[in-house]
């Protein structure tokens, strides 16, 4: 059984035929993690008791000849910003060291109810703030395709674990590109659902109007399967949409002939690596060959997406992260004799440099005298960016763009220059601000062997369409 290529369908087929058991599958993944994760650092903790108990339940069902749930025995890894009873939730931060949440994240609970085996918690940038997974308090993650390179961020551990064969699929979160960019860097598929499509209950918040939970998988169909399980309204999250959940697998497998595909000129300008440009253009040509009509489009406010994002995301982060004060969970600096001193010293000891930088930026943007100039202005530009997409989707069914301006960069290459690091998200943040859905799907490799991803963007709640086009891109790679 090749762990590096195993899909959900193959896992289920192997269980149904009796070729393996859920317990054996979990054990073989744990053995591989023990053997190889030392050089990648993708898992922060393993949930062996919970995973093996779940595997035993699945095996009992199989033995009794009962019907198996859709994710029966599928080994999954979970980004450590999502809560799971029995496991620590660090969010990659020292300030949450030792914290064991008393409740399950809804997305995690739904996957387990569908039969998945949750192997453990995956490394990430501290509070999901980063583009390279170098901001984790528990050390950087290394890209399994090239160990001296970053895996992308902030869900770097989730992307790396799938690429390295440490799980069949994983969950990540995307605030400004944190699923799509690491998927591209590690050569796996990453899905950004529409904002509100998947409940955020149990997600340790970074920027609530942007945060989304989505899967990393080895193929497009698996991403459709996982979305189908996780999507839907939730009594615990009033912002989780009541829009009906579609059969994403069926939609993703439809032919693409006759679809109109938009190619925005703003995504192919200066700074785009030539090999990436060639691979993305090849995918566009493949879609044309499959019968799609390719239309040039314009998203005129694209260049304002990064500055808009860094105002809005940091403003929301400065508010969300005020709950980490040493009172209710995690770290407390016990040397302070007053309450305010305890807040300040705990936050000083617990937060890393990037988190402090973003809290300061957000607090500054929200402070008296600067609110209109920064926060309100950014919210207005967010409206313009969203209108760009709504207007484009009046003419096209999906939009295709490069996923990243460069392939995975070297560890340490950008850590001293926050602006250069933020610009690595140039192709991802506009979709985040607009709330639309998207898929990052592998579309080739550089001459050096580094993965290249292409981004397929879809209308709000039209994940089926984005997955359908992504499936056509994937089919053309075979």
């Amino acid at each position: 059984m090749n762990l590096e290529t195993l899909s959900i369908d193959q896992t289920r087929a192997a269980l149904t035929s009796g070729e393996t058991t859920a317990t054996a599958l979990a054990e073989v993944h744990y053995a591989r993690i023990a053997q190889k994760d030392g050089e990648i650092n993708s898992y922060l903790s393993l949930a062996k008791d919970r995973a093996l108990a779940q595997a035993a339940k699945i095996d009992a069902l199989a033995k009794a000849g009962d019907p198996l749930p859709p994710l029966a025995g599928v080994p999954l890894g979970i980004k450590d910003v999502l809560t799971m009873v029995g496991s620590p939730a660090t969010a990659g931060s020292k300030i949450l060291e030792g914290y064991h949440p008393p409740y399950d994240c809804t997305a995690v609970a739904k996957l387990e109810a569908a039969g998945a085996v949750l192997l453990g918690k995956l490394n990430c940038d501290e509070f999901a703030m980063g583009s390279s997974n170098e901001n984790s308090a528990y050390g950087p993650v290394h890209n399994p395709r090239a160990l001296d390179r970053v895996p992308g961020g902030s869900s770097g551990g989730s992307a790396a674990a799938v690429a390295a064969g440490f799980c069949v699929a994983s969950l990540g979160t995307d605030t400004g590109g944190s699923i799509r960019q690491p998927a591209a860097f590690c050569g796996v598929t990453g899905l950004l659902p529409t904002w509100g499509r998947v409940s955020r209950f149990g997600l340790i918040a970074f920027a609530s109007s942007l945060d989304r939970i989505g899967p990393f998988t080895r193929n497009v169909k698996d991403a459709a399967t996982l979305l189908g399980v996780m999507a839907g309204s939730d009594i615990m999250d009033a912002t989780a949409s009541h829009t009906p959940v579609n059969d994403y697998v069926a939609e993703s497998q439809k032919p693409v002939a006759g679809l109109k595909i938009g190619v925005p000129e703003e995504y192919f300008g200066e700074g785009l690596d030539l090999e990436i440009r060639a691979a993305v253009e090849k995918s566009i040509a493949d879609l044309k060959a499959a019968g799609c009509e390719i239309k040039k489009i314009s998203l005129p406010h694209t260049r304002y997406a990064i500055p808009t994002y860094y105002v809005i995301a940091t403003a929301e982060a400065s508010s969300n992260l005020s709950r980490f004060d040493g009172v209710r969970f995690g770290l407390r600096d016990k040397s302070a004799s007053t309450l305010t001193g305890m807040y300040r010293q705990t936050r000083d000891a617990g937060f890393g440099a990037e988190v402090k930088r973003r809290i300061l930026l957000g607090t500054y943007a929200l402070s008296a005298g600067y609110y209109d100039a920064y926060y309100k202005k950014a919210q207005q530009v967010r409206t313009l960016l969203t209108r760009d997409f709504l207007s484009a989707f009046a003419d096209v069914d999906a939009i295709v763009t490069p996923m990243t301006p460069t392939p995975a960069f070297k560890l340490g290459e950008k850590t001293d220059d926050p602006v250069a690091m933020y610009l690595a998200d140039v192709y991802t943040v506009a979709a985040s601000l607009a709330g639309i859905c998207g898929v990052s799907v592998p579309c080739g490799n550089t001459k050096e062997g580094l993965p290249i991803g292409v981004q397929i963007l879809g209308r709000h709640f039209d994940e089926g369409m984005a997955l359908r086009v992504a499936q056509a891109v994937e089919n053309a790679q075979k």
Binding site: P102, S241, T243, Q379, H460
Partner: protein, 106 residues
Amino acid sequence: MSETVTLDVVRRVAELALLELKDDEVVRMQKDLNAILGHIDQLNELDTAGVPPMAQVSEILGGQVEASADALREDLVRPSIDRTAVLREAPEADHRFFKVPKVIER
């Protein structure tokens, strides 16, 4: 809007954010904030007069991401997270309460 962030502004913002920065961190943050805000100043190129601000996507989509009555759950008593389990995770607790250092300073 591109007023240079001074060391005093960094200290003041850190105070608002309840962050205790060391002297070298204040200097580093001043440099970083100025670099990032310089980039953010590009937004001033755009005339946004009359453009409504968007706090979240539901505002532009109307009914699709609903803020309607459907989003309100029924007013029923239902089980909540066990208090003991919550307090177990606190750095200091006293049966029913979170414990903190003294609040009133003299």
